[in-house]
């Protein structure tokens, strides 16, 4: 391809952008709003995911030990348990520590003078929260273990909810992606339609399909690029505001830091460009058949 041809493609696409400025603005608006919606959902879902992971990671197993187990037995059991695959961390909680924690929770005075009824225990963290149930089952079989607790039922329910939240989030995102492509290809179809005469003439003169296509592809990509930059700007400002507000008012909720957002920004530019190129090639197809 000649340099003058490439120059021609860019000249054509930019004059067309300016010439059809209202249409161009409409396309940019469509790309931007579609991507803002898409981006909001994306941010919502990654943050929800982040919060859920937080909750998931807090799931732990408590294994209560038989009172008869002495210090040797405890350390032997500790070593034995460590062999189970999927265990991240085992922490021994002596009955003294346990009663201290309990006193903290319910109030010191109330328990004054009472014999410590709490057993020794292990607090066990696992690598994959989904394996909690099966690991708990294995632990239960060791001698010296009195009882294993991990919030049976509650954990399963929580995982079920998390699963559905993710599925629904993905569906919503897919729908919005499709809607964006539809809006954009429609808007670009208008620009192509406005220039169908020109395309027609080009084809009669002997232009190849790719020669006709390139300026529209560039135009679409530029529209997508500007639209997605706009969306990124709006989302970044909004997210920044949200992040600060949540941090000040709801400190227990940990949102993803805004630096995380920049990883998505580049992907967004790519998506915008792709949507633009896809939309324009989609719209131009019909007019090439001369």
């Amino acid at each position: 391809m000649r340099f003058s041809t490439i120059k021609y493609f860019f000249k054509e696409s930019f004059t067309s952008l300016v010439r059809n400025r209202w249409m161009s603005l409409a396309s940019i608006g469509a790309v931007a709003s579609a991507l803002i919606i898409l981006g909001s959902f994306l941010l919502l879902s990654v943050n929800f995911d982040h919060i859920l992971k937080d909750v998931e990671s807090q799931v732990e197993i408590t294994a209560y030990l038989e009172d008869s187990l002495d210090q040797d037995g405890i350390s032997r059991l500790d070593k034995d348990l460590a062999v189970i695959t999927g265990i991240k961390e085992i922490k021994f909680i002596s009955k003294e520590v346990a009663i201290e924690e309990f006193k903290e929770q319910v109030g010191r005075e109330l328990l004054e003078g009472i014999d410590n009824p709490l057993p020794n225990s292990f607090r066990i963290k696992v690598n994959d929260p989904h394996e909690v149930a099966s690991i708990a089952e294995k632990i239960e079989k060791f001698s010296g273990i009195d009882e294993v607790k991990y919030g049976k039922g509650v954990v399963e329910k929580l995982f079920n909810i998390i699963h559905w939240v993710r599925v629904i989030g993905l569906i919503i995102m897919a729908v919005f992606a499709a809607v964006s492509i539809f809006i954009i290809s429609n808007t670009i179809r208008l620009t192509v339609f406005a220039r169908r005469r020109e395309i027609n003439i080009m084809k009669y003169i002997g232009a190849t399909d790719w020669f006709v296509r390139w300026p529209f592809l560039i135009e679409g990509m530029v529209l997508g690029l500007i639209g997605s930059s706009l969306a990124i700007g709006v989302l970044a400002a909004a997210y920044n505001y949200l992040y600060i507000t949540v941090k000040l008012n709801l400190p227990m909720i940990s949102l993803l830091p805004k630096e995380y957002f920049y990883d998505y920004a580049l992907g967004f530019l790519g998506i915008g460009m792709l949507i633009g190129a896809f939309g324009s090639s989609f719209s131009i197809k019909r007019f090439l058949n001369v």
């Binding site: 391809m1 000649r2 003058s4 041809t5 021609y8 010439r19 005469r197 020109e198 027609n200 003439i201 080009m202 084809k203 009669y204 003169i205 002997g206 232009a207 190849t208 399909d209 020669f211 001369v290």
Partner: protein
Amino acid sequence: MIEIYGVTKIYPGGQVALKDINLRISKGEFVFIVGPSGAGKSTLIKLLFREELPTRGQIFFGGKNITRFRPREIPYLRRRIGIVFQDFRLLPEKTVYENVSFAMEVVEASGRDIRKRVPHVLERVGLAHKAKARPSELSGGEQQRVALARALVNNPDILVADEPTGNLDPDTSWDIMGLLDDINKRGTTVVVASHARELVDSMKKRVLQLEQGSLVRDEERGVYSNEI
């Protein structure tokens, strides 16, 4: 240059536009295609540059069977054919110069060739002084001259015109015909579909007459109609 063998064209819907056409146009000829509206003149023209495919029959251009061309070969066929329409088909937002240079950009000519060639063809159609005008500032005849310049700028083997004077007044039509004759005298094969009886009669060129899709007359130095 062009050989047409047993060409029939039936449009979807059953309308028969051309019936078993056989003809040959040699290099350097000037040919009129005449006949009433709906006789198949435009269809015949469209078959030449592969806007339409014949339902039956073969068409050869420069020895190549263009009915067998794949879609990606069509642009290269059209680069050898200059096409002129009744409605000029100029781009209204481009200047005269740009409308012509556009045709060279499309075939990816170099910038240097474009700058050399465009003024030359504009000179040839007598519009060098209007290079910066827009089509809307020109008369119909001038617009058709721009279209002619555009069709000629890539040095086609053949110039095909579908009712080139259909939208023009008689005086201007004479000018355009004179220009076509001039182009032909310089070696380009010219094929013109036309309604303009007087023009055809006075030019004394080869005349192909179509009636309801059939070729009813093929006459050297003919006139529009021989029922005298």
